[in-house]
Symmetry: C2
C-alpha cells in the first residue's frame, strides 16, 4: 500500500504555479485530480459513481446501499491557494481505507470516499456547490446557470443539467466525516473534532459613481466610488473587531481600472462570519449602514446583494463527543470556515476531524500541515470509520 | 470636401463597445484609425511619413523641410474612454487644411497633421510615449521593452526598435498646435488657448501583506494589505483637497482577488497633479508618509516606485497671447491633463486650443463636445495655422 508521502507527492505538482494552486472546479488541473481519484479507486477495487452533480464517490461496499458512511472533501482550491485545503481529506480517506483493510476489517456498512465539486466557489462563485446540489439546497437550474469569469456556465462545464437532490439521501447516508486542515491556529495537538461552523455569508457591494478624468476633474466635482469602497473596507474591519467577528473585503473589480480615470463602478464582496446569527447580522447591518452614509457624502450609490448565506451549523453533539472520546479526548472546537460537511449536517449526522495547522495560514501557498500530524489524522479517520461501520 | 459630421460619424464606431472606447495603441481599432488617417491624407494628396516611433505625419508641403508647423493629437483612448480625447485634434486638423485650401491659401511653411502613438499610456503604461520618443525624452531601448498586460512589448507591437529622437527637431519644426477637448469644466466659451500644464506623475504603490483565509484568520492575526490600500486611497483624497491639488488611486490589482482570501499583495497607482512642482511633491510626500505609517500599524509593507513624472509645462506665452488675440480675445487657461504638446513644448514653440466641454467629463463614454463648438474649433485652428505659416 502506498504511503502518505507517495500519494501526497503524486498530486502536489497538479495545478501548482509559481504563486500557489489554481485548481478550479472542472478545469484541467481539477480534471487531472479526478482522474487520479478514479485511478486510486481502481487500484483498490473501489467502484466509482457520480451523483450527476459533479461529485465523485469511490465505494468500499455496495454503492448507495443504505446507511453508507461517507468521508472525503474537495479537490478545488481558491485562486493561488494551498495544497491541503480539500485534498488532504480525500487522500486521507484512501489511506484510512488502506489501513482498515490491512487490519483485516470488514465494515458492516458501505464506506465511500467523496470528492465534492467547487467547494470554494472559486470558479462559479457559490461555495459548496456540489454538496448544495446533492442536498437540494440549490435548484439544479440555478446552479446550471452560474457563470465563471469567462462566461462558461456550470451546466456547460458539467456537460448536463445537474441531477440535484439525491433521492433517499437520509436513508442512503448514515454519516459523513470530513477530515480537513484546521485554519484558525486554534488546535495545539495533532487532531481535533469540530463542534460548529460559524454562520457566514457573502454580500456583493456595487459602488456606482461617475467615470471621469483623474487628472482634470476638480476634487469637489468628483463622484468617486473608490472612496466609498475604501471607507467600507476600513469600516468592515472595524465593525468585525468590535463584535469579535470576522469581516473581509478582499476581492475588488474596478471599471475601467485605469490610472488616469476616476472609476464609474467599484464592485467588491464582503465575507463576514460570526459566532452566532445575531452577531453576524449586526456586523453586516453596521457595515451597510456606514457604507451607505459615506456614499451619500461621496455622491455615489451603493447596492448590496446577498450572494450566499450559510446559517450556523452545530455538528451532531453526541457524535462529536463520541469521536473525541474515541480519539483519546481530543479537543472539540468550532471553525469559521464553511465546509461541505456543514451543508450535509442539515440532513445526516455529520462530523469533522481537524488536522493541526501550525501557522493557521490557509487559502495561501504557505498553508501547511506536518507529515506526522497528517499521519495522525489518517489514524484518527480510520478509527472513526471503523467505529461508524 | 467632407463635413465635420461626415468625418466624425465615419470614425465613431471604430473601437466603440457597450461601455465606451477601447482604442489602445497599435491594437486593431487604432490600426483601423491609422488606415483611416492614411486614406484621408491620400484623398487630399498629402504624403504620409512615419518617424520610426509609431507617430504618423500627413503633409501639406514638403515633408520635413525646415520650419514645419504641426497640428494633431492621438487616436488611442484610455480603457472605456470617450470619443473626443485625441481624435478631435486629428479630425480638426484635416478639416482645417480643407478650409485653408478652399480659401485658396498657400502656406509658406509645410503643415503636417500628426497622430502620436500611445498618448494615454493605456497600453504600455507610460503616457505620451510617441512624443517622448520623438523628442528624445525616453531611450528607444527602454520604450521598446515596455510591456502591455499580455506581455507584448512596445518594440514587438511596433515591429522594430523605435527610432528615437528626430534629428534636427528644432530646425524641422517651427511650431506645434494641438487642438483638444477641454477636460475640467473650465471653459465657458467655444474655444480657449492653453497657458500651462500642471506638473503631474504616476507612482506605483505595492502593498504587501500575508495571504490567508478570510474566514478563519483572527482579526488580530491579520496582515491585510487591503486595509493599508484603503487608508491610502482616503489619505490621497484628503491631502489633495487640502493642497488644492488632484490625487487619485483609480487602478488596483489584487492577489489573489478572491472573496475568501486575505490578499498577499495589493498594487495601486497614485495619479497626482498640482499647480506647481512644490505642491505636487508635498502632496505625494504626505500620502507616502501616511501610507507608510498605516502599513506599520497593519503589519504590511509598502514600496513606492515613481513610474512617470512630468514637470510643469508653461506654453510659449507670447504665442498663447498672440493666438488668443487672433481668435478675438478668447480665454487663456491652464489644464491638469498631460498632452503630447506638453512634451514638445520643451523643444519648440507650442500651443494648445481647447474646445468647450459642457460637463467637463472626460476619460469616460459620457465625454462630449457640441458640434457647433467643434466647428468653432476647426475655424480657430485654420486661423492659427494660417497665422503660423
Amino acid at each position: 500500500m502506498p504511503t502518505f508521502r507517495e500519494l501526497w507527492d503524486g498530486i502536489a505538482p497538479i495545478g501548482r504555479g509559481a504563486n500557489g494552486y489554481l485548481r478550479y472546479a472542472l478545469t484541467e488541473p481539477e480534471l487531472v485530480l479526478r482522474d487520479w481519484f478514479r485511478n486510486q479507486a481502481a487500484r483498490r477495487d473501489m467502484p466509482v459513481t457520480d451523483d450527476g452533480n459533479g461529485n465523485l464517490f469511490a465505494w468500499w461496499g455496495d454503492p448507495w446501499a443504505h446507511d453508507a458512511v461517507l468521508t472525503g472533501s474537495h479537490f478545488d482550491s481558491v485562486p493561488h491557494g494551498g495544497a491541503y485545503d480539500g485534498p488532504l481529506g480525500i487522500v486521507s480517506g484512501f489511506l484510512a481505507v488502506d489501513r482498515l483493510r490491512e487490519q483485516g476489517y470488514a465494515p458492516t456498512k458501505p464506506i465511500a470516499i467523496v470528492a465534492f465539486v467547487d467547494e470554494e466557489g472559486g470558479r462559479f462563485g457559490l461555495p459548496c456547490l456540489g454538496s448544495r446540489l446533492l442536498t437540494g439546497a440549490i435548484e439544479p437550474e440555478r446552479a446550471a446557470a452560474l457563470r465563471d469569469v469567462d462566461g462558461v456556465t456550470f451546466g456547460e462545464a458539467l456537460g448536463d443539467l445537474p441531477a440535484g437532490l439525491l433521492p433517499g439521501l437520509d436513508r442512503r447516508i448514515s454519516a459523513l466525516v470530513e477530515l480537513h486542515i484546521e485554519q484558525g491556529r486554534a488546535l495545539a495537538v495533532p487532531v481535533g473534532v469540530a463542534s460548529a461552523i460559524w454562520p457566514h455569508g457573502r454580500w456583493r457591494f456595487d459602488f456606482t459613481g461617475h467615470g471621469d478624468h483623474a487628472g482634470t476633474t476638480k476634487m469637489s466635482d468628483r463622484r468617486d466610488p473608490m472612496l466609498t469602497y475604501a471607507y467600507t473596507v476600513l469600516a468592515a474591519n472595524k465593525e468585525a473587531r468590535l463584535a469579535g467577528a470576522h469581516a473581509t473585503m478582499a476581492r475588488v473589480e474596478v471599471e475601467p481600472n485605469a490610472t488616469n480615470a476616476i472609476p464609474s463602478v467599484v464592485r467588491s464582496w464582503l465575507d463576514a462570519r460570526a459566532e452566532d446569527n445575531a452577531t453576524l447580522s449586526a456586523v453586516v447591518d453596521a457595515v451597510v449602514k456606514r457604507a451607505t452614509e459615506r456614499a451619500g457624502r461621496d455622491g455615489t450609490e451603493l447596492t448590496v446583494t446577498p450572494e450566499s448565506q450559510s446559517p450556523e451549523v452545530d455538528f451532531d453533539t453526541s457524535l462529536a463527543d463520541r469521536l473525541a472520546d474515541l480519539l483519546g479526548g481530543v479537543p472539540i472546537l468550532p471553525t469559521s470556515a464553511g465546509h461541505d460537511a456543514g451543508v450535509l449536517s442539515a440532513h445526516v449526522p455529520t462530523a469533522m476531524l481537524f488536522v493541526r495547522n501550525p501557522t493557521g495560514i490557509s487559502h495561501s501557498p504557505a498553508e501547511h500541515a506536518d507529515e506526522q500530524d497528517c499521519l495522525s489524522g489518517i489514524d484518527a479517520l480510520a478509527k472513526v470509520l471503523r467505529d461508524l461501520t
